[in-house]
Symmetry: C2
Subunit: 622 residues, 2 copies
């Protein structure tokens, strides 16, 4: 965490100095704004936190509810989400209060007594096997709290406008604020008051029944299976020994997906209510909680649960839907998108792979910096078309994965030939639900993979997978990727050649390229945070000898930044040599990483012209 | 972090349900109270956070200042303090914002050009070599913020009464509230208003010039050396390559102790201003900041600093003083202490070993649970005499250590025969400044060491040194000691025998002993948090088969606690077998740990009578 460079900070350094519109933010929703976010779920709140880093962009977020979400339904936090939380500054806090999924156990019928269940397999869960971040369970409401804090404490000081409902919108291309939005106050003394407001861009984060989606005429394509599940968050006493372990239970009486939750007592159970008759007409949704509990006990036999408190419950039929487009541009028109859809507004599916909140947040992370870049004049408007182009395939992959997983989960014992099949599938596909299989293809922001061989461990288009390095200024072992915050900046990781001479030469040539896209009145690293990673042990390096590109001066005092020069390990506190761990060329390589952490260009140290062309293809001169 | 057992929690689980006086805490300082804390420095604020865990004890904390501390002078956070923060629930947050000391470098005169300094040694700092906690630098103001949060969010909802000055006190033994205290409001509309209030106990946490100390007639014994130092927190640009590394610089022109601070830019420098003439009469304290900076540059030659901002500076002569007693009982009187001294009020020394704040906090940690135990009727008043008996020797050791260290730091180059001597001393003594050498001797709360051989790695009287174990209920690898929170409870770690049979037998016999000291209307584990650690791999254990002592039911719903049953590793995510790591007998052993984390009894599994006698010696029947 870096601070004090704008002068001495006594208070919580997570509260950044207010800037721009954050200095005197109007309490009331204005008539005109740059970005209007509709809905304060995971995608909307992440987006608010992200836009708070662009304090000169006027962003507002409206929410029909009259305040903070109290009881969230989503709870699965995949490692990629924790990685994202790290960038937003609250990973360590949410980890401390979440349930960490260490294992997933599998239960099936006892062969000798098939109406009883027995544990058939223990499978180590994937979090820490795949990356440095865990796989967690924590109430969505807490995730939203942390994003709300990041939004409120960011320079833009963004807080949701609660109690305001979205009614509809019209896009009037050509106006400065082309999206005309009708809203209604729904709480307190302003209840019933309707207003028309105008925005440059509107983002629909308003869930599966999105009115924004409806307003732009997008269709939610797919259907609902004829299979119902009950779900409940319950506090119980039980003799079931895996109450605190995630498990899949496949009994003759049906299936349970069992997920322990944060706090040490609560667990969530997804309970198979079986096939739904064609003429059921949603009657299954009226299944009383007592019946769900009875069914759970039937499946758990010979174990049982004594339910002391039901925190939440519901009944649903599994649906799988993807919206036919993620923005308001009918393919081929070529105009700039003005309205975007994120999260459940454009993809809905079963809850059982713990994906919904996670993929939604990545929608928001993908879109936020693009809006910020365009609205601050860093990038052309065409950048905004990449949002739907990148995220719609991810949604489709998600639906396909979830359909397979939820089908496997709903089988009867006699349909299962190999009792380890579910465990094998779970582990074999772990990188997908972890959130790390997303790979963006070539576009104005993702370069070509011709130089991929220089950095095999940083696949182009996938998220930058951090590794430990040694910070030269103080010898501390740190995760290279964790220095990056979700502040809208590009990261450039310049890995050195054997002597470091080519790296230093690159710095001299590349510096003017970065400067070309950086406003002259901004800090030198305001757009590009460029870091050097030398091959030499840190003891052989002095940070004061590094090129100025890696030791820029910033802030009102123009203080040197000491935290951009690194050395590869191993060192006293790490075994890792990042060049080995990420299969990097010993001749050096430059990795350009997007503000949302995806690898977007891989270049040799001598390809400065190529770097210039890449930057010019997506960024405007400052 | 455990919650939900009193019902579903939606908000930040760090905010505990209000209880007792916390439910409707009066804003104004009352006329009578159980505990009055004078001063809101590290000892006082820790004490407030601790007393908030005793919500039926009326604790108030007065502070002359009109609000939060803005600029703290202490900044060194030793590993024992981070361990303490863990118990108070904010370690991960303060670690995220602090500077981690990875290395200490040493600089001396260049043999070939003695007016220049050169780096002579790099020494890995001790934090992570000694325990799982780092050695940090962070502003005292932030430490106080976190303790203030813990105090306000604890069940007692304690917040400081700012703007109230302590004037004096009189002890009237025999009264229900025997300490009569005179205070004065010093801010806002009540400025000048004097009041007399009464308390059962008063704790002087009011610093080196303690008025509480003066009021009870205790003497601060010791003196001031004739050697002056300048100290400054500065933001600079510099060519000195170790600006971000802790270092000791021993130049011909004098000495600097250089300490980088949190945030990546700020550093603190202690600059040797040389011997002070006998007739100086404190004139050295008027040394202007320009002179201190000039001196720093002289010492740093050939490097230099260009100071951009001075956040704080001061000049002082090193003093070493210990108070002749830590409470108001003149030795031999035998009466219950009514007034206590903590922190700088009873020990002052140089700042350079980074000890002051740390030892002060341990004073508070030692005293808090004792006050709580006596005031809730768990322990006899005689417990309070152990505070001074335990903490005064620690203060004396601190003074002795600091005198040696600060003398070594102030030497001239020609006085140094071995250039590695300072580095050798620093590392060789690391366990002392880390805070882990404190060892309480036999008393009513510390048993005898006759069974020490059963647990060589848990020395009696030293703090319980945690190690990784596997939680049986979910297979997660956790630090055994980190489950313990600073909630005033005793921890009993019962390590199993080879089969676990003797451990289960112990549980049956020991349960009534713990119950004897536990109120019948309180949770079964309200006083003793008893945990089992089996030798078997966790896969061979079921938590539902463990004795009820290890799976008690608690809270209004009487829910089973799943987090008291552990297995020794190794396991998938740890190499550690706690029995090997802490040299524990394979026949099992019981370790009793005080609320402030010190090992207070070591007993074989078959010594139940001895356990009973130990408990009866310090606790009253409930």
């Amino acid at each position: 965490m870096q601070f004090h460079h704008h002068g001495y900070v006594s208070h919580d350094p997570r509260v950044l100095p207010a800037e721009g519109l954050g200095i005197d933010r109007p309490a009331d929703l204005p008539d005109e704004m740059d970005v209007l976010i509709v809905g304060s779920g995971p995608a909307g709140m992440l987006l608010a936190a992200q836009m708070s880093q662009y304090p000169h962009v006027n962003t507002r977020i409206i929410e029909k509810r009259d305040g903070r979400l109290v009881l969230g339904q989503a709870d699965g936090i995949q490692p990629r989400s924790v990685e994202t939380f790290q960038a937003f500054g609250f990973a360590e806090r949410i980890i401390a209060e979440a349930y960490n999924i260490g294992w997933m156990n599998f239960w099936g019928p006892d062969p000798e007594n098939p109406q009883n269940i027995v544990r058939t397999a223990r499978t180590a869960d994937y979090g820490y096997d795949i990356c440095e971040f865990p796989h967690l369970i924590v109430n969505q409401a807490r995730v939203l709290d942390y994003f709300a804090e990041a939004a409120a404490d960011g320079p833009g000081r963004i807080v949701p406008d609660y109690g305001i409902e979205f009614l509809g919108l019209t896009v009037r291309e050509g106006d400065e604020y082309p999206v005309e939005v009708r809203v209604r106050h729904v709480v307190a003394e302003r209840e019933g008051e309707e207003r028309t407001i105008r925005a440059k861009y509107v983002v629909g984060c308003d869930g599966a029944r999105s009115r924004v989606r409806e307003a732009i005429g997008r269709k939610h394509v797919g259907g609902v299976s004829a299979h119902a599940w009950g779900v409940m968050d319950v506090l119980v006493n039980t003799d079931f020994p895996d109450w605190r372990t995630k498990c899949a239970i496949n009994a003759e009486a049906g299936n349970i997906l069992h997920i322990p939750r944060e706090g040490g007592y609560l667990s969530r159970m997804y309970i198979d209510l079986g096939a739904v008759a064609e003429d059921d007409d949603r009657r299954v949704r009226q299944t009383p909680i007592e019946e769900i509990i009875r069914k759970a006990n039937e499946i758990l036999h010979p174990y049982s649960i004594d339910v002391k408190d039901v925190a939440w419950h519901s009944v649903y039929e599994v649906g799988h839907r993807v919206t036919d487009g993620f923005d308001d541009v009918i393919d081929g028109s070529g105009r700039t998108p003005r309205v975007f859809l994120t999260g459940d507004a454009c993809h809905t599916h079963s809850a059982k792979a713990g994906q919904g909140m996670n993929v939604s947040m990545q929608d928001g992370f993908n879109l936020g910096w693009k809006l910020g870049s365009v609205l601050t004049g860093r990038s052309p408007e065409s950048l905004l078309a990449t949002y739907g182009a990148e995220r719609r395939p991810v949604a489709q992959q998600l639906i396909d994965f979830d359909r397979e997983w939820s089908t496997l989960m709903a089988r009867k014992p006699e349909e299962i030939s190999d009792p380890n099949e579910l465990a094998t599938f779970y582990l074999g596909t772990a990188e997908f639900p972890s959130g790390f299989m997303t790979q963006y293809t070539s576009s104005m922001i993702t370069g070509t993979d011709v130089h991929q061989a220089l950095a095999a461990g940083f696949p182009l288009g996938k998220r930058f997978k951090s590794a430990e390095v040694v910070r030269v200024c103080d010898g501390n072992v740190v995760h290279l990727g964790h220095h990056a915050r979700a502040d809208g900046r590009w990261r450039v990781y310049a890995f050195g050649d054997r002597t470091g001479a080519a790296l230093d030469a690159w710095a001299a040539q590349a510096a003017p390229l970065f400067a070309r896209h950086t406003p002259s009145d901004a800090d030198a690293d305001a757009i590009f945070d460029v870091k050097a990673i030398y091959q030499q042990p840190f003891e052989e390096l002095e940070v004061t000898s590094a090129p100025e590109l890696f030791t820029p001066k910033s802030g009102p005092l123009q203080l040197t930044d000491w935290e951009k020069v690194y050395a590869a390990g191993p060192s006293k506190w790490t075994e890792i040599d990042i060049f080995e761990a990420r299969e990097l060329s010993r001749d050096g390589v430059v990795i350009v990483v997007r503000p949302d952490q995806y690898v977007s260009a891989i270049l040799p140290l001598d390809a400065v012209d190529e770097l210039a062309a890449y930057l010019e293809g997506m960024l405007l001169p400052a």
